[in-house]
Symmetry: C2
Subunit: 324 residues, 2 copies
């Protein structure tokens, strides 16, 4: 359904900005290049190890801006609340949003609240939007886009996969593991800035949220008309998340993250970018996971530990509902 | 509850931009002054005479930008959909958003969709955010704010009240009146631009949406620390909306509009502003409804047709749920 809807929106609302198909729209205002994005958050439960809906709502938008190579500046937050929601719950979420906004260095510029009758919404939904400023060099913006991946580019990943999605799933399903799975929810803007500072040849950035790494790579492959080839054995997954994925029969490559970035970088810049990632607290486990090939265009290939090649398809439907 | 929540958000998320307490936050990006706003829409029913949730979602954000004296440029739209929603309904809403965006001259820069299980949301909620550009004169922005009303200012209203709210209520309650009540949903940015072109001394603008004219005036009175005095007999209400209000026992001054503006203007500019309004198709019924007094600060006084003075209080609670 989600893909159908995306097609519907792109078809009917399409314009040169939206047609870029990146998470943020990028355009010029005066002499500045601005990125603008939005996301709704419907995560269930509202609180989970490592985060809550408020923290997620701030970082989700901040991270989309970061993936446009923009410095996040201002966000808005709009709440849809179910009548009768416990005020202490709301206060805790708003406190968390404030802390998250401070952590990410963004200012809440505007907000709205709608209260709907009991039963018309499930407790609390939050929609954030955000704007950020692109860096420029002699007036020209440092543009990155899922459409700019080129054959030969290196594919970097900033750390372990599946922690966010499995933290939410485990809490929702009441599963207990030996080690608690903690969401990776974090603002990646500082990490991305470090990579951009170190490397003038970043082509594409994507935070692998809904649909996980597999979806992020598929999107870039389609936008750029290239093939992405990644090595399964190179992709880090933490032990607790791996155990949970195995138990539930879920592929960690399809699970949402909220503090990671995939970077597609010209080969000559890849080492510097990887070093910059590893020097940042959020990128210590960064690895090179693959490379961009010319064909088959629009495909993602996974090289298994046994040397086999399999196609990593775009997720159909919502494998894990209400994860973000 | 809504006021309690506003206090909570202002208290916890407060910063110099948000503390202005206008519907849009205003700040500088490069040499440009930008307004940024958001609103969620939960209207029930989704379609009503004169509009639908999509049209409302576009104009609601466009009109908030216009009330910051900003030219609306880009919007985002984020959908929360209940699983099983009829695809034809969604298509009709997205078509309507496209038409509304074109009518208002804004570009949809980004979007998001979340699908929640059946029962977790009532069909469809839309959250829009928008950014607009303030006009400048020799580099200085034309700032308007609910905090800039001054004693002696004139209070103008661009047309009839209560059409939007009563159109939605009538459709929801299945009420039939002699003449159908049609929502006034429209983009007021052109109307506002005409007023700003004609008059350099506009102090405050507010679109009287949720809570109606009474709430808009109360907000300005509080923000500016002044008293607003308005003449009941000067305030236009169309016959169908008036009849519906009488039947349902609702005061039209508290009913939401979505194509009107209240303008607070220095006395020497009021005639030019009123003429500019009346020359615009959306302002033909514009009237001067009152003036700003020094005290009692934070109050709104209504002069009744019998010459009595009564206090127009801020609406407590949500008099009409899910109107916008």
């Amino acid at each position: 359904m989600a893909e159908l809807i995306d097609q519907l929106f792109l078809g009917k609302l399409g314009n040169p900005v939206l047609d870029q198909r990146d998470d943020s729209g990028v355009f010029q205002i005066g002499n500045s290049y601005v990125a603008f994005t939005t996301d709704s958050f419907v995560v269930d439960p509202l609180f989970f190890p490592g985060g809550d809906i408020g923290r997620l709502a701030v970082f989700g938008t901040v991270n989309d801006l970061a993936c446009a190579a923009a410095t996040p500046l201002y966000i808005t937050s709009s709440f849809i609340l179910e009548e009768g929601l416990d005020m202490a719950t709301l206060e805790a979420v708003v406190d968390s949003m404030r802390a998250a906004a401070d952590e990410a260095g963004v200012t809440v510029a505007a907000g709205d609240t709608k209260v709907v009758p009991n039963g018309a919404a499930d407790r609390m939904f939050i929609t954030t939007a955000g704007i950020g400023l692109l860096r420029t060099d002699s007036g020209r913006p440092y543009l990155v886009s899922g459409s700019l991946a080129r054959p030969g580019d290196a594919v970097l990943l900033s750390g372990t996969l599946a922690d966010h999605g499995m933290a939410v799933m485990s809490r929702r399903e009441g599963l207990a593991f030996e080690s608690e799975i903690v969401s990776d929810a974090a603002p990646i803007s500082g990490l991305v800035a470090a990579v951009l500072d170190a490397c003038p040849s970043v082509h594409a950035l994507r935070d692998p949220t809904r649909g996980g790494l597999a979806s992020a790579l598929n999107e870039i492959a389609r936008q750029s008309g290239v093939c992405m080839e990644v090595e399964e054995s190179a992709i880090p997954v933490g032990e607790p998340a791996r155990a949970a994925c195995e138990l539930l029969g879920i592929d960690p490559l399809y699970v949402a993250n909220e503090g990671k970035v995939v970077a597609i970088i010209a080969p000559e810049g890849a080492d510097a970018a990887l070093e910059a990632m590893r020097s940042h607290p959020l990128g210590r486990q960064a690895v090179r996971i693959g490379k961009v090939l010319e064909s088959p265009a629009g495909r993602v290939h996974l090289i298994t530990p046994y040397g086999n090649r399999r196609i990593l398809v775009l997720a159909h439907g919502e494998p894990l509902p209400r994860i973000c």
